[in-house]
Amino acid sequence: MDAVTVERAGINQKPSSRVSEEPVSLEAPVEAGKTVGTITVEDPIFSCRDVDVYYGEKHAIKKVGIDIGKNSVLAMIGPSGCGKSTFLRCLNRMNDTIPNARVVGSILLDGKDIHDKKQDVVQLRARVGMVFQKPNPFPKSIYENVAYGPRIHGLAGDRVELDEIVHNSLQRAGLWEEVKDRLQHPGTSLSGGQQQRLCIARTIAVNPEVILMDEPCSALDPIATARIEDLMEELRQSYAIVIVTHSMQQAARVSQRTAYFHLGDLIEVGETDRIFTNPRHRLTEDYITGRFG
């Protein structure tokens, strides 16, 4: 039996009922599901409502509701253990792999429940790709790292088409010029920053709609980080991107919307322009100004 039990709840709940637009006291207590700011967006790719995640008895995510917009970057910030990575992993059902994990609520991808029995998880993870904290290329050649996904998903009819996908993906990930003469070298022979871009190329090779990034630059130097951030700006023209980061400056640089998590609650969501200059909730303010704890 699947380790993850899914209960559907709140699918028909109106988004507006969960949005608090009135001025909020900065001292307002945290109440599960009472996020400050606008959780909805026009034409969302993901629409999540009342998402709870439990690891055994531990209630890791509490009634989180948020939309994820197309062609934009959503940054999720918060202290360690606040649930931001857990929530990210809900979006392509990575939590399925964790024993005792239980996800409750509604997560709609393009209007369809990702926990539907008919949903093929492998297909879901092709549509919702993920880039991890540490670059994790397969122990294969650069070419094979990118070609692997399209091959198992049957995206290329022949070798010429596969070559084209590999070329385009590496090009879009900004890596082609650096590796075009050594495609048969091992992926692990590249530098950290290049390996991370290889992982991004591998992710986009299967035509995803959403790219999830879990602290993608925390193991990289500032120059490699800048290249990834630059790449994110280009990639958002075609994909929705959700990034979990511990760097407030990075969240401010790359995202259009920012979500602040605290002890499993989604405290505040808003335009990045506003969150970093004038957040509405005291907890958000304290965290981003370095007054937390």
């Binding site: 401010a252 970093f276 200059t277 957040p279 303010e285 981003i288 100004t289 007054r291």
Partner: protein, 238 residues
Amino acid sequence: MALSLEGHTTRAFDGDLSSLHIQAVAMGALVIEQVQLAVNAYSNWDRSTATLVLERERKINLYDAEIEEAALQLIARRQPMAQDLRAVFAIDKVVTELERAADEAKKLALAVLAESDASGFRPGAATAREARALGRVAAVMIRAALEAFDRLEPGAAASVVQQDKEMDAEYANALRRLLTHAMEDPRRLQATVEAAFIMRSLERIGDHARNIARHVGFIGGLDPTATGVLPTSLSIKN
């Protein structure tokens, strides 16, 4: 509700930000005195006080340069966010307003010290009285704005707007009297224009005080239009 610039996990950040704030308040105290001295120098036509104003002006410029450098350093080293970012931004702007207010005060001192035909421009009793009245309102406004800035109370700053209306009325009265005077005796035209510039300088000091109040509101995250503390450039006068 008063805001706090302290409470950071990194205590050195508290120190840097507080020191910036304290420096700006100290500069403000100097500017209040400067305005009072300049008004006294002008209304009493006192050259020694005017000289003192010019000497102190250098100290104000030094404060301006030092606070700007400290603000730049703080942004580079601490990358402040949210209220802290607004505070650093606002402190820098408050300092600019103070420096400009001091410049206006300097104009009064320079009028007294001008070598050419100095006695001809000496204000008569009525003009001196008006300069004192305008100067008093300007000093009160700067003091109120600075107190709000010192205590970081955005709400308190809103009262400065009311005082600015009083200032505008006093300024209009002074100008009306000066114009009447000039029409009665055209030979006094040059002296009248000079006196009008002095009144204008005092009125500008009030505007700088109002802008300081606006910056305090900005630190508190207030919408300037909501508090009525509008920036000068958005005020529409017909």
